[in-house]
Amino acid sequence: MTMEGESHKPGTVPPASRLGLALFGVYVLLYGGFMTLVLMRPDLMAVRPFGGVNLAIASGLGLIVAAVALSLVYMLARAGR
């Protein structure tokens, strides 16, 4: 993806964006896994492995925290560029 000072060649993905796409891939796996569980095994969502909090709430909160964490990783990794 285009960074300041670089020229953008349409349709290409410069190496600098590989990290972004890799983090995107990680999140797609997490989101896809969560949705598959909700759709296919909703009964599992009722188990309570986390201090009395059920898996549905724990994994939902986890997905939100993961999105924020991945975005911070991305910003720190690309700081100064």
Binding site: M1, T2, M3, E4, H8, K9, P10, G11, T12, V13, S17, G20, L21, L23, F24, Y27, Y31, F34, M35, V38, L39, P42, M45, A46, R48, F50, G51, G52, V53, N54, A56, I57, G60, L61, L63, I64, V65, A67, V68, L70, S71, L72, Y74, M75, R78, R81
Partner: protein
């Protein structure tokens, strides 16, 4: 009583809205050139822009709709929070920096950067208008819901109030004031939702919402007679005789030793204690006869654990049909793909100076928005057990929850919710006005305009869009705003995302492919929604079984369709010059 106005609430509300309008007017002097009007001169600081992203995005659907859905249906409302935030991951990692590098004022600029095609500008401008209008509907409905308990005004008055205020904001100053309105609103919303969550945890859970005496499990009936008169349990509705507020804990877990209240709880303790409690929820049945339309609200005491897992709202999840599951999967795909395709979000990338600022502002936005969505869980569950809910209106859960603490907090939260609507509607009308003036009039119709004329046409378009939004807001009264915004995400994701992603990552993409993908994606998703069971039942008043579509949310079919059309049409048309070389 549910709808009693207080002078304090009205005063705080008036001060808030006046303050926002004053700021808008003051900042308006800075945005008189086209670059200032449409893109705030590209000079907004990334941190301010990041919070403004939150202000832009955390619409009535997020605040009023999700809280209401959690309060009435439990966990499924939180699935909207998860999906709405997930969309930002696409925006940050895939879209943010290239869109900044490609565009100038509007989303059409970016898609058309390689081709200079009037066809692309036309297709994208129309899709921007359609998405903006569909996104405007829930905002206006939310505004209408707010003014009834706060100011004692009818639904339509709230819609008109927002319409006039927003048109004033946009028509006076454009993107500079819109950005600041969104910044203020985003900051206040996250801060006060945090305050409300702390109060919820501090109060803990109480049987019968702390009221003395046994649970009142008597059903309630609200009748609207043909002459418009409203009856409650057969008697004319008045301040003294209205529906009882609902939503309470029935029984607390045994570990609290039979106490009627838990006292303050930690964030995880609160969730665990609720899971082991019972709650009283209210179902609604409606029937119409010659005496009017009767809504019967019936209470049921049930384990809260049932409401803290999927399936309370999306019936397909709790052992339902395949169509029900596909409907849910389709919605979650649309939420994931839709955020990065929303025109009013995309134009915010043009208000910062470069791609690095675009990236940093997105991260600030994600952090603020993520924090807010965690809080929605506590706000929704707090409302579910607050004893303050209006059984007729899911959209009022968050403000009525605030009223259960104090009248002042109610006024503040209502005013913030109203500014929430103002902020988001301003952004939407900005996006729509840019699509009309910059894309349609100037680029498609080829009308040469001076800088001053561009701004004037944009303001005129803003006024027309404001009027359309007001009319639709009145028409769609009574819908949950979270549900309504799902439609906008479906259309945005189907029409815009395939073209945007393929333009960035597939060199063989042609202008014919982009035009076809945007047109087919938009028409297919719009057509699907208009022919779906949800629309048949809730808009046309017809049985859902007559609808031809197998499920109501189109994204699962129409988003891949957009990609497929783009690839096929691109391969069938001459390759772009860059590829031929």
């Amino acid at each position: 009583m549910l709808h009693e106005t207080s002078p304090l609430a009205v005063g705080i509300f008036a001060a808030f809205v006046t303050g926002v309008l004053w700021l808008s007017f003051r900042l308006g002097r800075k945005g008189q050139s086209a670059q200032g009007y449409y893109a705030a001169h590209g000079q907004v600081h990334w941190a301010v822009n990041g919070i403004a992203f939150a202000g832009d995005y955390l619409s009535a659907a997020s605040f009023l709709g999700i809280c209401g859905m959690i309060a009435f249906h439990g966990y499924d409302g939180f699935l909207y929070s998860i999906g709405f935030l997930a969309g930002w991951v696409v925006a940050l990692f895939v879209i943010a920096e290239p869109i900044k590098a490609l565009g100038k004022f509007t989303f059409a600029d970016a898609l058309d950067a390689r081709f200079n095609s009037r066809g692309i500008k036309l297709a994208v401008a129309i899709s921007t208008l359609v998405v903006s209008v569909f996104y405007l509907i829930p905002q206006m409905v939310g505004a209408g819901s707010l003014v009834t308990p706060l100011l004692g005004l009818p639904h339509w008055a709230g819609v008109v109030l927002v319409g006039v205020a927003v048109t004033f904001i946009v028509a006076t100053a454009g993107m500079v004031s819109t950005t600041w309105v969104q910044f203020i609103k985003g900051s206040l919303l996250v801060f006060f939702c945090g305050v409300l969550s702390v109060l919820i945890l501090g109060r803990g859970l109480s049987v019968n919402a702390g009221r003395a005496g046994p649970l009142d499990m008597t059903p309630q009936v609200r009748t609207v007679r043909p002459d418009g008169m409203v009856l409650v349990d057969g008697q004319p509705r008045s301040k003294e005789h209205d529906l009882r507020p609902v939503g309470t804990i029935g029984r607390l877990p045994e570990r609290f030793g039979g106490a009627l209240t838990t006292g303050g709880l930690g964030p995880l303790e609160y969730l665990a204690a609720l899971e082991d409690s019972t709650v009283v929820t209210w179902s609604r049945q409606t029937h119409t006869d010659e005496q009017g339309t009767h809504e019967t609200f019936t209470p049921t005491e049930r384990p809260a654990a049932e409401l803290l897992r999927p399936g309370g709202y999306f019936k397909g999840l709790a052992g339902g049909t395949l169509a029900g599951r596909l409907d849910f999967a389709s919605l979650m795909l649309a939420l994931f793909c839709g955020t990065a395709s929303l025109p009013h979000i995309l134009i915010r990338y043009y208000t910062v100076k470069d791609a690095a600022a675009a990236r940093k502002s997105t991260v600030v936005g994600i952090t603020a928005i993520g924090a807010f969505y965690v809080l929605t869980l506590y706000l929704g569950l707090g409302a579910m057990t607050s004893g303050a809910l209006d059984p007729t209106d899911t959209n009022m859960a968050a403000p009525l929850l605030a009223r259960s603490f104090s009248e002042t907090l109610f006024a503040i939260i209502s005013a913030i919710a109203f500014t929430t609507v103002l902020g988001t509607v301003s952004g939407l009308i900005m996006a729509g006005s840019g699509a009309v003036a910059h894309d349609l009039v100037e680029n498609v119709c080829g009308v040469r305009m001076t800088d001053h004329e561009k701004v004037r046409v944009g303001k005129l378009a803003a006024v027309v869009l404001g009027v359309v939004a007001m009319a639709l807001g009145i028409l769609f009264k009574g819908f949950n705003v979270g549900f309504l915004v799902g439609w906008a995400f479906n259309i945005a994701a189907s029409a815009n995302l395939p073209a945007l992603v393929m333009l960035l990552f597939w060199p063989r993409t042609t202008k014919q492919g982009i035009i076809a993908a945007v047109t087919v994606g938009m028409a297919a998703s719009l057509g699907w929604i208009l022919l779906s069971a949800d629309t048949f039942e809730k808009v046309y008043g017809l049985p859902g079984s007559l609808a031809p579509m197998p499920f109501s949310q189109p994204g699962l079919v129409t988003i891949p369709l957009g990609f497929l059309v783009l690839v096929v049409v691109s391969l069938l048309s001459p390759p772009p010059a860059a590829v031929r070389r």
